[in-house]
């Protein structure tokens, strides 16, 4: 319930739209009931009057029938327009709301949601929230108000008929959906589990096909996938059986309600307490009124799903940012040296510290290489230098000011990163570059790309800088993507440059060419590079060897690079 209220608060700016949409739906419902009920009354009354040879006013009911049919059409049109308008407004606001809450959490808190699957789920969850309005709120509101109005009308004739109708409406709209949901819980969970297993088996089967074939296990994998597919289908059929009860229940309840009404009302007609046309009217009225509860079973299903989505999103949104922004304005450094003193840091829940008492002085324009295996704490240091995390102890000073005094965005004007993971957005190459410097002129972009040695490649593309990059665009090789990252860093023009294994995974020749680009990028900047390969580090003024958060050795490039490099290269001889 708390989650529902919280969601409703999010929807508050659009409450007028929402009410209007529900009102239109209500008008449609009532127009339809009126149309059918009056038609039934009209025909019967006309037949009775005709056979008795008495005059009757047929203008009013005929007008009501025409009016009802027009109102129903117009009402449906308005309802669809308004609910879509509201949904789209909502969707926009929900995305922005979620994004703006997510932004301060990146990347520290979001590391838990690193896998692509989780990120896709976030997207699906946000999309699921907006269905709360169309699929849940509107139907529930319309069903409640509509049922009250309709029952009020029945009360004018006979309270027993009203009570019976209410009973069947509740049965069809509330009890049966709840019951079938309870039944569907177990197969629903089994379906989710089997779907995940099937997905993994398919990924295994496709991405690992080569190994499966060479090792003679391909046929077994196909059988495994088929078995999972059969299990899934069986559960899907079972679940459909349960949800089928819902659809059947609405129709059956409407019919049973009609049947009970006949049973109760026919004696009233015989007594003369109810006119025959009124019986026909009430009969059709009852049948039509079940349209009010027809969408409720779906609403119940949707509600569960939407709330689960909302809970997951709230859990993310409620996370505390890893970094607190300072209250005052950021300092404006006039030099860019880095002083790191006794830095210590542990990731939440980790047994061992990621960094344990690291001290390092880098003068302006100094060049440091940090060597260590993965898990040695190199990446943690970069996360702290970029103020993505806050150190547990110790300090980092940039230009004589504690990093904690800088606002994150201001700090990152001075410090930038080129890493092995370059995210290319689903935008043109130009727009991908402009992310680093939104006001850069085309000439400046090209200049940066020339230095990064990617300009020539871009011009060979048919659409040049307007070529679509990213997920749906042209596939760039690892080396090309990293050149774009270098161009971005050049455009950013930050005085401190962090390099995170910039040549990892590239072949020797590409690597060497990329290094030439990096050389140009490094000119005049304070540079820290992290790598796990202790080779070719003779450009560095200082080399640190790290292991498990501690500095094992530090010193002159030639000494350390020579020692470890020889050991490594000599290992095979």
């Amino acid at each position: 319930m708390k989650d529902v209220i919280r969601l409703l608060r999010l929807f508050k700016p659009y409450r007028h739209w929402m009410l209007l949409g529900a009102l239109a739906a209500l008008v449609t419902l009532i127009a339809n009931v009126v149309l059918l009920a009056v038609s039934g009354w009209f025909i019967t009354a006309m037949a009775v009057a005709g056979s008795a040879g008495v005059a009757m006013n047929y203008f009013t009911p005929a007008a009501l029938i025409r009016g009802g049919s027009i109102l129903r059409t117009v009402g449906r049109y308005a309802e669809r327009l308004i609910t879509h308008e509201a949904t789209l407004r909502l969707l926009a606001q929900l995305r922005v709301w979620f994004y703006s809450h997510l932004e301060p959490l990146a990347p520290a808190v979001l590391q838990r949601y690193h896998s692509g699957d989780l990120q896709s789920r976030i997207r699906a969850d946000v999309d699921a929230l907006d269905t709360l309005y169309v699929r849940v709120l509107v139907p529930v509101l319309v069903a409640t108000v509509g049922a009250c109005l309709l029952l009020g009308f029945l009360l004018l004739y006979d309270w027993r008929i009203a009570v019976v109708s209410l009973g069947f409406l509740l049965l069809a709209g509330v009890a049966v959906p709840l019951w079938s949901r309870a039944l569907g819980q177990a197969p629903g969970e089994r379906i989710a589990r089997t779907e995940a297993e099937l997905r993994t088996a398919c990924i295994d089967g496709l991405q690992g096909l080569g190994e499966l074939q060479v090792y003679g296990a391909a046929a077994a994998q196909a059988r495994h996938i088929d078995a999972l597919s059969r299990t899934l289908a069986t559960e899907q059929v079972r679940l459909a059986g349960y949800s089928g009860i819902n659809q059947g229940a609405v129709g059956l309840c409407a019919n049973l309600s009609l049947w009970t009404l006949l049973w109760l009302a026919i004696p009233l007609v015989a007594d003369g307490r109810l006119a025959p046309p009124q019986l026909a009217m009430l009969a059709l009225f009852t049948l039509a009124s079940f349209e009010a509860v027809a969408p409720l079973p779906l609403a119940f299903q949707q509600l569960g799903r939407t709330l689960a989505a909302a809970r997951r999103l709230f859990a993310i949104v409620d996370a505390r940012p890893a970094v607190e922004e300072p209250a005052g304005p950021s300092p404006r450094p006039d030099r860019f040296d880095i002083r790191i003193a006794d830095l210590g840091f542990s990731y939440p829940g980790a047994a061992a510290p990621a960094l344990d008492g690291l001290s390092l002085d880098v003068p302006q324009g100094g060049r440091v290489a940090i060597v260590g295996a993965s898990g040695s704490g190199k990446t943690t240091l970069f996360n702290l230098l970029l103020r993505f995390w806050t150190p547990d102890r110790g300090t980092i000073h940039l230009g004589g000011h504690d990093l904690a005094q800088y606002r994150g965005d201001d700090l990152r004007r001075y410090v930038t990163l080129v890493s092995q993971h370059t995210h290319l957005f689903d935008l043109s190459i130009r727009d991908n570059l402009l992310i680093a410097a939104p006001d850069a002129s085309p000439a400046r972009l090209e200049q940066a790309c020339r230095v990064a040695q990617i300009h020539d490649f871009i011009t060979t593309l048919p659409e040049g800088y307007d070529t679509w990059a990213g997920e749906t665009g042209v596939r760039l090789s690892g080396g090309q993507a990293r050149r774009i990252a270098i161009a971005r860093a050049l455009l950013r023009d930050a005085p401190v440059l962090l390099l995170d294994e910039p040549t990892e995974g590239l072949d020797g020749e590409t690597e060497q060419a990329l290094m030439e680009s990096l050389d140009r990028l490094m000119v005049g900047r304070t540079v820290i590079l992290i790598t796990h390969r202790p080779v070719g580090l003779d450009w560095a003024d200082q080399v640190l060897v790290m292991d498990q958060g501690r500095v094992l050795a530090r010193g002159d490039a030639s000494v350390i690079a020579g020692a470890t490099g020889a050991e490594l290269l000599g290992g095979g001889d």
């Binding site: 037949a47 129903r72 003679g216 059956l252 026919i266 990152r412 749906t472 060497q512 290094m515 070719g536």
Partner: protein, 601 residues
């Protein structure tokens, strides 16, 4: 074949379930007509014969029985439709997966496996909308309105005429407007998907955005994109909804016209008409019966419209499935029926010979141009060269994933194309650059592909293989040891550990030929040393062909093959090649000099 035709062609896979569903639905429609008739009968009796409850009670019980029967048939129709659809899905998923498997790894490497997995899982499930929803709805829409019309016409042709005139308007409008609306709708769905992708993209790139101080800007941009989308969509929807409103209007207004026309005739209202037209006189019971049927006449037509979107989704899924199933595989098939059935040979020493082998992935782009080479049993061969030199292609040819476009590749004198691929695979073990661990335990991953009754599945054999691969140490330090489950892509294990498990797999395989794609690049020095030890162990007494990425690992090779743009440019051992001052020496220099930064400073 259009997606719709293809979808239709698959229906026999459902067996009898779909026809049964459709028959049940038809039965349900017939019961509906009976129910309307009975209701009209009861109301007529009460209104004009002044019947009391006692007189109509038998009819009421019959009515109750009809209600129960209708509920049962509706539920049964739904169940059979879903079951039929499930059968089709299971059959198609199996067929599509086996087809992908038959196309081989080389085909899959070029595809985005993510999209294919999506097609296999959600794409196949999307077909439900067609088989379980649209098909039965269409069957009903094509029968029930006709049945009602046939019934109403002899009773009251005036009402029949009203229905007959408006009914064709509905499908007509549906196709006229529907086609246009479908196009618009599809565009909007694509837009929506694109907007969703944009949102996801922003989340995935949030660190990058933050790095460049662009994250707040992106928030504003998201709002602007969403707003633009809303305005564009609403413009389309106003028109699209208007057309469906017109449809709805026709249906509703004709019910109203039927009601009014019946009412006036029951009243005895004289219509000034020429003498040759005489309106049929009707009684109340007929009139009420027709009134009850009028909405049911339009209902199947309208509900068909609600399944339209689902059908669109199914058609889109079908398009992707056709794409996967469609064209003939370009690579050797592993189908037992397709491959020539050569005699099974026990794995023994193999001599490989490439004779003027060419291969091109597409017209005019040769990946290998005229490679000739002989590999003797027990030889240790290293392949070096820049990316795109043809190393991977050579290995893929050896594995039988690709077949030469020209030239021959023979194994012990027999053309690889004439060999049964499964049989050939029994002669070799392969460790790719990024070995894959499959869902299951570490032990099961080492035992991959070994039949359960084989002696090699014995724990001691697995343990020995792990020991030789330098993997036993870390595996046995895990609480569950060999029974430790492996997560997606070997989550929880380091790259070096995965490599060593894959090496253990190769050891257990005990094949005379070992092909490996050295992936020491992503390993820290300690893992690299252990993997290297494992490889050296594996090379003992076997033919070893290795793609070398790190040149310091090739020195141990008996022969180094330097490839460049699909050609073999040098061949010899380390010392010879170094002395030659050619391509190998240049590669070695590039490798050694790769880290030399600061030259420009």
């Amino acid at each position: 074949m259009t997606p719709t035709a293809w979808l239709k062609a698959q229906t026999p896979l459902a067996g009898r379930a779909l026809p049964v569903a459709i028959v049940l639905q038809g039965l349900n429609g017939a019961l509906l007509i009976a129910q309307a008739w009975l209701l009209a009968l009861i109301l007529n009796a009460v209104t004009f014969a002044h019947a009391g409850l006692a007189e109509v009670r038998p009819w009421l019980w019959q009515l109750l029985a009809l209600f129960a029967a209708r509920a049962l048939t509706a539920w049964g129709a739904e169940r059979f439709a879903v079951r039929g659809s499930a059968r089709i899905k299971v059959a198609l998923r199996d067929r599509v997966y086996r087809r992908l498997q038959a196309r081989g790894p080389a085909y899959l490497a070029g595809e985005r496996s993510g999209a294919l997995v999506e097609t296999l899982t959600k794409g196949v499930d999307d077909l439900d909308a067609y088989y379980a929803r649209f098909l039965p709805a269409r069957a009903l829409a094509m029968t029930l309105p006709f049945a009602i019309l046939l019934l109403v016409w002899p009773l009251d042709w005036v009402s029949g005429l009203v229905l007959l005139v408006t009914a064709p308007l509905i499908p007509l409008f549906m196709t006229l407007i529907g086609r246009n609306a479908e196009r618009l709708n599809q565009r909007q769905w694509k837009e929506l998907a694109r907007m969703g992708a944009r949102f996801l993209d922003s989340i995935q790139g949030l660190t990058t955005l933050k790095l460049f101080g662009a994250s707040r800007r992106q928030g504003t941009e998201l709002a602007a994109v969403s707003e633009a989308y809303r305005v564009g969509t609403m413009r389309v929807l106003r028109v699209a909804f208007l057309s469906s409103a017109v449809l709805e209007f026709f249906a509703t207004i004709s019910i109203a016209v039927v009601a009014v026309l019946i009412g006036f005739r029951l009243y005895g209202f004289e219509v000034p008409l020429p003498a040759w037209i005489s309106l049929p006189r009707i009684d109340f019971q007929t009139g009420f019966f027709v009134l009850l049927l009028a909405p049911e006449f339009f209902l199947p037509l309208r509900s068909l419209g609600t399944h339209y979107h689902g059908r669109m989704e199914a058609t889109a899924a079908a398009e992707r499935l056709i794409e996967v199933l469609g064209p003939e595989p370009q690579t050797a098939s592993t189908d037992a029926t397709a491959a020539p059935a050569g005699p099974r040979t026990a794995p023994g020493p193999v001599t490989l010979r490439f004779t003027d082998v060419h291969f091109s992935y597409s017209e005019g782009r040769e990946a290998l141009c005229g490679l000739s080479l002989e590999i003797q049993p027990g030889e240790r061969l290293a392949l070096v060269g820049t990316s795109g030199a043809g190393k991977t292609t050579l290995v893929q040819l050896l594995l039988g994933f690709l077949t030469p476009t020209a030239g021959t590749l023979t194994v012990n004198g027999r053309d690889l194309r004439t060999l049964d691929l499964d049989d050939w695979h029994r002669h070799l073990a392969w460790v790719p650059q990024q070995p894959r661990l499959f869902q299951g335990t570490i032990g099961a991953n080492i035992r991959l592909g070994i039949p359960p009754d084989d002696s090699r599945t014995h724990p001691d054999a697995v343990r020995t293989a792990a020991l030789l691969a330098r993997a036993a140490g870390f595996i046995e330090s895990l609480p569950a040891g060999y029974e430790t489950p492996v997560g997606e892509r070997g989550a929880g294990l380091s790259g070096g550990q995965i490599q060593r498990i894959a090496l253990a797999r190769a050891f257990l395989r005990d094949a005379p030929l070992v092909i490996l794609d050295e992936a020491t690049a992503n390993l820290d020095p300690e893992s690299e040393r252990l993997v290297q030890e494992g490889i050296d162990e594996l090379a003992r007494g076997r033919t070893l062909i290795a793609i070398a990425h790190r040149l310091d690992t090739v020195r141990k090779a008996d022969r180094i093959l330097v490839l460049d743009q699909g050609r073999m440019v040098e061949s010899g051992d380390h010392t010879t090649l170094l002395a030659q001052d050619g391509a190998y020496r240049r590669l070695l220099h590039a490798y050694a000099g790769q880290g030399r930064l600061g030259g420009a400073a």
